[in-house]
């Protein structure tokens, strides 16, 4: 049985259809890349998956998360699914963190919640230790300072890694990562991508990876779905799609990526 199963998802608002008839599924442990140009509906699809679309959206079709129907589900049912089944890293690292709460406290929040849900009591020291190790896993330097910092006091890349750490704190079965590395410089990006790949392998976590950066997607996922203007135009194995793109739009993406690649000279 698949962990996430989206069938005929159509999203519309104010008379505009922004996502139409999108279907795909993710099996436990599977890594799926969702690519497409800006505004093609990638983030909306992710939001629909966890039932957090902005007000005023109409949802048609079906989304099954770990066997539970999300479309039309009650808020309390969704709360049980969010975090534990699917955790999300949002696109905008600048605003995704509460500007008035120290980083350590924010990361601790999902940690504490997970333990509480599991019926365990945890002391503060244990939580602090766990927060520390989470931040270590996302390769943050100088963790003792960062824990005590407010989001505005750390760099964009660091903020993005904090957001990832928060999602990981939930130990979800499915991690939805919406362009998690765009704010990072290439050196840090490599570390994060390696981390994500590692987690999927070790913890058997499934991954929905959203990006428009083809080389990045190629590095962490095995399958891709290509979106354009809210519609799926192509899907398949990463290598197959990138080697032999069928749709013209996909081809233009691949060509551009290859051209940049070439300019850099041979890989080393």
């Amino acid at each position: 049985m698949s962990l996430l199963d989206i069938r005929g998802l159509t999203l519309s608002t104010g008379g505009q259809t922004l996502v139409s008839d999108v279907s795909f599924s993710i099996a436990p442990g599977e890594r799926l890349g969702l690519i497409g140009e800006s505004g093609s509906g990638k983030s909306l699809t992710a939001l629909a998956t966890i039932g957090l679309l902005p007000r005023g959206f109409r949802v048609q079709g079906s989304i099954k998360l770990d066997g539970h129907e999300v479309v039309g589900a009650s808020e309390s049912a969704m709360i049980a699914l969010r975090g534990a089944t699917a955790a999300t890293v949002f696109q905008e690292p600048l605003t995704a963190l509460n500007p008035l709460m120290k980083v350590g406290k924010q990361v601790a929040e999902p940690v504490v919640r997970r333990h509480r849900r599991a019926g365990e009591t945890v002391d503060r020291a244990a939580v602090a230790r766990e927060v520390h190790s989470l931040l270590e896993r996302v390769s943050l330097p100088d963790i003792d300072r960062i824990v005590k910092s407010y989001p505005y006091e750390i760099s964009g890349g660091q903020r993005q890694r904090v957001a990832i750490a928060m999602a990981l704190a939930c130990r979800p079965k499915l991690l939805i990562a919406d362009e998690p590395t765009t704010a990072l410089d290439v050196t840090t990006q490599v570390e994060i991508l390696d981390l994500l790949s590692g987690l999927v392998r070790e913890d058997d976590m499934a991954l929905l990876f959203i990006s428009h950066d083809l080389p990045v997607v190629a590095r962490v996922t095995e399958n891709v779905v290509v979106l354009r203007r809210g519609e799926v135009i192509e899907r398949g194995q990463v290598h197959a799609v990138f080697d032999e793109p069928k749709h013209e739009y996909t081809r233009s993406l691949v060509d551009a990526a290859t051209a940049f690649d070439k300019a850099l000279g041979p890989a080393r």
Partner: protein
């Protein structure tokens, strides 16, 4: 980082309803005010009825102690309210926006002084200001009440302008304009003012309402427009003494006042929602 494509402005149904209601209310007052320039049901100072007659077909809102028609006076009150409101806001806008922008551009030293001046002026009772202005202009008049309110409000406007302007001045497009060689006046008039305008306009509407209410309060304390100007505040104040025997004297001007102030606020909200090219339909 990835770009988002913003959706085009969506017609906002609630916005257009606010706009319509606001337009109707304000329009009604403006129309009545204009009408009184040419025609009123009765001579406003003429004693056309008995003392404190209750509303009737002949006198829709009743009569006052001198037997003058209240409805006529309320109509003329529209004129005064609009003059006070628009006048005060115009004065406040001129002084406040100028000082606010100046302060935003100023060196830190001057800026501190101006900011402190705004704070003090805000802390200063409008009432005393009104007294001082009335004194400086020889006698209590519509003009001096308007001027006093204008000055009082200008501090609030200046403070708001300063904050908004600072935010805009830190945007890249201001830097872009500077590096393109644009002069300061051009930055102020082409970039700064158009961008703070919508926020200011909404605040102006709020201040318009406050000015009309403040004029009423000043009249209540005997500092507003002098008779025979039938300001709503004065009507309310006069009606207060007869609130048990002739409550109608207080109700009609009250309704007039409330409708104008609400209308103005709705109008401003609606205009902002409808007219601002950058405003997204908010869910």
């Amino acid at each position: 980082m990835s770009g988002q494509v913003e959706t085009a402005t969506m017609p906002n149904r609630r916005g257009s309803l606010t706009l319509t209601v606001g337009l109707v209310l304000v329009g009604l007052h403006v129309a009545v005010a204009l009408l009184t320039l040419m025609w009123t049901p009765y001579d406003p100072t003429g004693m056309s009825g008995g003392r404190l007659e209750a509303p009737s077909l002949a006198h829709w809102a009743g009569t006052d102690r001198l037997g003058r028609d209240l409805f006529t006076q309320i109509m003329i009150g529209s004129r005064i309210a609009l003059i006070v409101g628009f006048g005060a806001v115009a004065i406040a806008a001129t002084i406040g926006v100028t000082l606010g922008v100046l302060s935003a551009f100023a060196t830190r030293y001057l800026d501190d002084i101006l900011a402190a001046a705004f704070d003090i002026l805000i802390a200063f009772p409008t009432l005393l200001l009104a007294m001082l202005v009335v004194a400086a202009t020889e006698s209590a008049s519509l003009f001096s009440a308007t001027l006093a309110l204008g000055i009082a409000i200008s501090a609030i406007v200046a403070r708001l302008t300063r904050i908004l302007a600072k935010r805009i001045l830190s945007m890249d497009y201001i830097t872009a304009a500077r590096t393109a060689g644009a002069s300061w006046p051009s930055i102020v008039f082409r970039h700064l003012l158009p961008n703070i305008w919508p926020m200011l306009a909404v605040n102006f509407a709020l201040q318009f309402g406050l000015a009309v209410i403040a004029e009423a309060s000043l009249s209540y304390l005997g500092l507003g427009a002098p008779p025979p100007n039938a300001s709503w505040g004065r009507l309310l104040q006069e009606a207060q003494g007869t609130v048990y025997t002739a409550p109608f004297g207080a109700i009609a001007p009250g309704i007039a006042l409330v409708t104008l102030v609400i209308g103005m606020n709705l109008l401003a909200d609606g205009l902002r929602d409808a007219g601002d090219p950058t405003r997204r339909g908010r869910q």
